[in-house]
């Protein structure tokens, strides 16, 4: 009884800490990035297959963040040009693309990147900017995470690396696409794109 009670009491005491981590966007972000880096740089990472690592990254991202936020922002007004079926497909394909990009970035380094997080700036009650600098292979890059507090918790809504916004970059690509083609062509292109991901030279330009 005593042990059970003590366990329960410990959980009760620790609960706010966990929820606070969830409530603080910087802590949530750092925890996710640390966990993602561990997939590649923890001592037994070399024994894991690429697929296992990719799966871990996929779970980590989808459990921590709602990628539809970034996808919908990248789509902008083009979202309404898709049928409901295409919207669902787009959602799944974009998620695969983000997971692939994250996996490629993290798996390409030899040494574990060093990340320094600067002070979080509250732009309003529900929007923050978290500046950071990433040092990898002797070069340092500035990365700013923009997060918003939605009903589902703090969510990343843009990542700005060296002054280049992830969302604006995809918005440009999608705007250019919809000027000439439709949603079906976009879905087809994304599927082909993800299929040929192993060989960059095969990517259709």
């Amino acid at each position: 009884m005593k042990v059970t009670s003590l366990l329960f009491a410990s959980v009760a005491l620790l609960l706010p800490c966990f929820l606070w981590a969830e409530a603080d966007p910087a802590i949530k972000l750092q925890n996710t990035i640390d966990a993602a880096l561990d997939v590649f740089y923890e001592p037994d990472a070399a024994n894991k297959s690429g697929d296992a690592k990719r799966q871990q990254i996929a779970s980590l991202i989808s459990e921590s963040y709602d990628l539809s936020i970034i996808m919908r922002r990248a789509m902008g007004r083009n979202w309404k040009k898709l049928t409901e079926k295409e919207q669902n497909e787009m959602h799944a394909l974009f998620e695969q693309l983000v997971i692939k990009v994250t996996y490629d970035r993290l798996s390409s380094g030899i040494h574990k990147p060093k990340i320094h997080y600067d002070t979080t700036t509250y732009e309003s009650d529900n929007r923050v900017r978290i500046p950071s600098s990433v040092t990898v292979e002797g070069s340092t890059y500035n990365v700013v995470y923009r997060m918003g507090r939605l009903s589902s918790g703090w969510q990343i809504y843009d990542i700005i690396a060296e002054d280049i916004s992830f969302v604006s970059n995809y918005r440009q690509q999608l705007d250019d696409h919809f000027r000439r083609k439709d949603g079906a062509a976009l879905i087809k292109k994304l599927k082909e794109r993800l299929k040929s991901e192993e060989n960059i030279a095969e990517i259709t330009i």
């Binding site: 009760a12 936020i69 692939k100 990009v101 529900n126 939605l150 690509q173 292109k189 990517i203």
Partner: protein
């Protein structure tokens, strides 16, 4: 025994109450005020930073494909051979050519009336050209007050005067640019004593300089290019957006 159990239960209740008091308010009363609306976030206007004038898109895409082919079948093999050299040697070469670009950085700082930037570049050049063995090392970066600053060029100076960027261009071999940066590039070349039209070097030395500078930059450029291409839905549009965002930000700084 029963008394102990009651005590324990009371303590537990106290702990839980205390713990709940510490919870952030939104988890306790489930209030949904203060949340960002998803619709507001989705519909947010991003047009200003993404709008790029690209009336020559058809021609640009043809040159982009040509460049992609050239990078794949000419630049990449050259870069692979260059990368056989030890990384310290490659870093030395990279520093050497970077140091030789001092006249462009100095003039561009002066054109923008950035006197402190011009003075800093001058001191860095003096230190790196002497202590740094003709610029092959970069001891200045390790000295307080002489840390590397962002590169300046004539294109940025023109931008700081309020001159518009003009239509987006893709230059053969060189990649993304715009009318303003193309003019800036001609300005950079006019300032540099190592390249035409006002070079102090003979034609052989100019060729060696040009090839050396180009090859020393290849590994970094190709890595960035691969990263961009690997994550893009449309690599042409992705590079266009990345370049324009980067240059607009450089002009603003």
């Amino acid at each position: 025994m029963r008394r102990t159990s009651l005590k324990l239960r009371f303590s537990l209740w106290l702990i839980c109450t205390f713990a709940l008091c510490l919870l952030p308010s939104q988890y306790v009363n489930g209030q949904d005020e203060g949340y960002l609306s998803e619709e507001a976030l989705f519909e947010e206007d991003l047009d200003a930073p993404t709008q790029v004038s690209d009336p020559l898109e058809g021609l640009n895409r043809v040159i982009f494909r040509f460049n992609d082919y050239a990078y794949q079948y000419v630049a990449r093999p050259v870069s692979s051979v260059y990368q056989l050299a030890p990384s310290s040697a490659r870093q030395g070469v990279s520093h050497f050519f970077d140091n030789l670009r001092f006249p462009v950085r100095l003039t561009s700082n002066l054109l923008q009336a950035r006197i402190s930037g011009a003075w800093l570049e001058t001191r860095r050049f003096a230190v790196n050209s002497t202590v740094g063995l003709f610029g092959m090392l970069d001891p200045a970066s390790g000295m307080e007050g002489l840390e590397k600053i962002d590169n300046e060029d004539v294109g940025q100076a023109l931008g700081s005067y309020g001159i518009g960027e003009g239509p987006y261009l893709v230059l053969p071999f060189m990649g993304p640019s715009n009318v303003r940066d193309l003019i800036g590039l001609l300005g950079d070349r006019s300032i540099s004593p190592w390249v035409e039209p006002f070079s102090i070097l003979d034609s052989e030395a100019r060729m060696i300089y040009g090839m050396g500078e180009g090859v020393s930059r290849l590994p970094v450029y190709l890595e960035l290019y691969d990263q961009m291409k690997g994550s893009a839905i449309d690599p042409y549009s992705s590079l266009k957006s990345a370049f324009m965002q980067y240059r607009r930000s450089a002009v603003k700084k």
